[in-house]
């Protein structure tokens, strides 16, 4: 009995101590957590949350930077945007861009990751090679591609060998957007390949083993094991690249400035153009709010109809 009582006491005491220590560590943890969170949160508030809120406010004004008084415009900016032909052109361009880039990019990234996950010779080299465009500044890659796409550039001389007439890719309204899309697919599929690689490595090898025993071919393994198993990663990749595509700006800015004849004006470029080239900050802000709305709607639709964990 005695030892038992003692033991009970000892346990209860220890629990008490533990509880005490627990509660103190919990408080302490919370304190430190909030302390560490405070600075990034403050920075985010100053540089992200307040500007977002402010741009929402601005979008209801006829906001002119140099004027001393800003005129309230109500919904006029929004009404004007819906009557602006260039806005619709930018919208169509952006949607076309997204529909073209996202599926190809995702499939290519998955395919590359699948190949890179095999035990092939020079794997490290290929991984690096495919990832380099993702860590290179987009301005640099854009300038390189301006040279490649120029009339006497690499692409035309390669096509010339096949007997195809040279085309000025970036000043031809029919090819300018497609040219920028190709560049974007090239730069970002390496980036998403890494996400897929991480996903692939989480698939238990036993699944493939079992499939092999049953006599499944490589391509069957790919479509029936790999693709469903990386679905959460695919979800992440598609969401991120959708958002990226809707916001595409730097390539357009460097390569074509939205031209020729607005054939490559995207939503983000339209916002920039109106805000900082024509100095209609209110109008630009209204367009930015609309763009944010569109991205949100698309993401919600995606989450509803293509959830990350369907099972």
């Amino acid at each position: 009995m005695l030892p038992g009582i003692y033991m009970n006491d000892a346990i209860s005491v220890r629990i008490k101590i533990n509880m005490k220590r627990n509660s103190s560590t919990k408080k302490e943890q919370q304190f430190w957590a909030y302390t560490f969170l405070f600075f990034p949160l403050m920075l985010l508030t100053i540089f992200v949350f307040i500007p977002i809120l402010f741009s929402f406010v601005i979008s209801f004004f006829d906001w002119e930077l140099m004027a001393s008084h800003q005129k309230f415009a109500g919904l006029n900016n929004y009404i004007e945007i819906f009557g602006d032909k260039i806005f619709y052109k930018a919208l169509v361009n952006t949607v076309f861009y997204t529909i073209g880039v996202v599926p190809i990019q995702t499939l290519l990234a998955l395919f590359l990751a699948f190949v890179m996950n095999q035990k092939i010779r020079g794997r490290a080299f290929f991984r690096t090679a495919f990832y380099i465009p993702a860590v290179t500044s987009s301005v640099v890659t854009s300038i390189i591609f301006v040279a490649i796409y120029s009339k006497e550039g690499l692409l035309n001389s390669l096509l010339g060998n096949l007997g195809i007439q040279p085309n000025d890719w970036l000043t031809n309204p029919k090819t300018v957007l497609i040219s920028i899309m190709m560049l974007n697919i090239w730069t970002t599929s390496g980036y998403f390949m890494v996400s897929f690689l991480a996903g692939l490595q989480n698939i238990p090898a036993s699944l493939y083993e079992a499939a092999r025993l049953e006599g499944a071919t490589q391509s069957q393994q790919f479509w029936h094991i790999t693709v469903p198993m990386v679905r959460p990663v695919t979800y992440f990749v598609v969401v991120m690249s959708l958002i990226g595509c809707f916001q595409v700006f730097d390539q357009v800015f460097v390569m074509s400035e939205g031209g020729p004849n607005n054939a490559s004006t995207t939503m983000a470029y339209y916002v920039y153009q109106n805000g900082f080239k024509y100095f209609r900050l209110g109008y630009g802000a209204a367009a930015a709010i609309l763009l944010a709305g569109i991205i949100m709607i698309v993401t919600v639709i995606q989450k509803k109809y293509f959830p990350p964990y369907p099972y």
Binding site: L65, A67, S150, P173, N261, N262, Q273, Y278, F279
Partner: protein
């Protein structure tokens, strides 16, 4: 003990540093510009050096804005942090003058007896004047003239540059050639560009305009349309080329690499011809005459913001830079032409074989300014591109262009 003394020394010197910074800032004139090439940088440095020598009591800090100049200046004006003296392009002047952000300079000009505003060619001063108030002093100007390749002219049996529209077309036809006989044209008469500022001299020559006195658009007039049809006609008749058709970046390159016998460009092209295209044997001439002689001129002013604690000091710098002495230094290399008559005759540009063409163009040159939001320019460019690249119908495109630009009228 030592530690605390050190601490105090550190603290005091830190305070002294801050105070000296503030005092220094209060006395320094900040000056901003863009820079299109390295020689302009050297010129700015030497100009500021001359100023510092003459007025050692003033301190000038040069703050270069390497890109997106107008955007940056507007942001600085809007956030009350603009430099005391900066460049303003004639092109953006109407939208700047609409707001009350630049300092009217009349009282300083009137007080300063050595300044003499009548020495300026009036159209350049007018570009920065609104309701009688002068908001900027033009530092220099450039204008479009005709560059022609003497060797090509000789080979085609021509000795003189074209004098009028008929001759321009006729000469271009003679100068368009397939030299190596492969069935493709290697040399064009003239190189043109689907750009509104290249079209405007032709419009003015045809007695047309972009807007009338009350700033109403005049794009749907026979004069404007006729000029555009003539200009596009040179291209559609295949006696002119555009840079993208010969895979080059700009019309100057097409001329420099001998793919075209004529080009319309400005004084900024001269140094490039001398450095990069030494083997091109060229001459400059007045633009050919339409119904009248005309060309467009570009000018840039020095201006000051209205919100400025150093008004007197700024005027000192501004009046030196645009005064006879400063302008002589600035334009002595011929990179740009002087806006003061006395400087032009002092440097003897009126008799210079090349510069006399630029100086002579002043008599009929117009500064091209439009009282519409900057967006008008991209609308106009798009229309020009549609006409050249997609063969859009000219009268229809002009109608559409006028409709699109109409609503962008600057207020007031």
């Amino acid at each position: 003990m030592v530690k605390s003394t050190l601490k105090y020394i550190f603290l005091i010197s830190f305070l002294a540093l801050i105070i000296s910074c503030i005092r220094d800032k209060a006395k320094t004139i900040r000056f901003s510009s863009w820079q299109s090439n390295p020689s302009e940088k050297r010129l700015t440095d030497s100009l500021l050096h001359c100023f510092a020598k003459k007025y050692p009591e003033y301190k000038v800090k040069f703050e270069l804005i390497p890109g997106n100049y107008s955007e940056k200046i507007q942001l600085m004006l809007g956030t009350h942090s603009a430099p005391q003296v900066f460049y303003v392009k004639d092109f953006v002047a109407p939208s700047y003058l609409r707001y009350d952000v630049l300092q009217p300079l009349n009282e300083y000009i009137d007080r300063d007896t050595s300044f003499d505003k009548n020495d300026f060619y009036p159209q350049f001063l007018n570009a920065f004047t609104k309701n009688g108030k002068i908001y900027g002093i033009p530092k220099d100007f450039g204008c479009y003239v005709l560059f022609y390749n003497i060797d090509m002219f000789k080979a085609a049996g021509l000795s003189e540059p074209p004098k009028d529209w008929t001759e321009l077309e006729e000469f271009s036809k003679k100068l368009t050639k397939d030299i190596n006989g492969d069935g493709k044209t290697d040399q064009y008469g003239i190189v043109v560009e689907p750009s509104i500022d290249k079209l405007m001299p032709f419009v003015f020559q045809n007695m047309g305009s972009f807007q009338d006195k009350d700033a109403n658009l005049t794009l749907n007039t026979p004069e404007f349309q006729g000029a555009l049809e003539y200009y596009y006609g040179l291209y559609s008749k295949k006696i002119a080329t555009i840079p993208t058709d010969v895979s080059m970046n700009n019309i100057e390159e097409v001329f420099g690499r001998k793919r075209a016998a004529m080009v319309i460009s400005g004084g900024w092209f001269v140094p490039q011809l001398k450095d990069q295209y030494k083997d091109v044997n060229y001459k400059v001439a007045f633009l050919p005459k339409g119904k009248q002689m005309a060309t467009i001129a570009f000018t840039v002013s020095y201006s000051s913001p209205k919100e400025n604690p150093l008004k007197e000091e700024s005027w000192k710098l501004l009046s030196y830079l645009t005064g006879k002495e400063g302008m002589t230094v600035w334009t002595s290399t011929g990179i740009a032409m002087p806006t003061r008559k006395s400087v032009a005759s002092g440097l003897d540009y009126i008799n210079h074989p090349e510069y006399k063409i630029f100086m002579g163009s002043v008599d009929f040159a117009k500064v091209f300014q439009v009282d519409y939001n900057e967006r008008w320019f991209s609308i106009a460019q798009s229309a020009m591109q549609a006409i050249f690249y997609e063969r859009a119908d000219i009268p229809q495109k002009l109608k559409q262009m006028e409709n699109d630009i109409k609503s962008l009228r600057l207020k007031k």
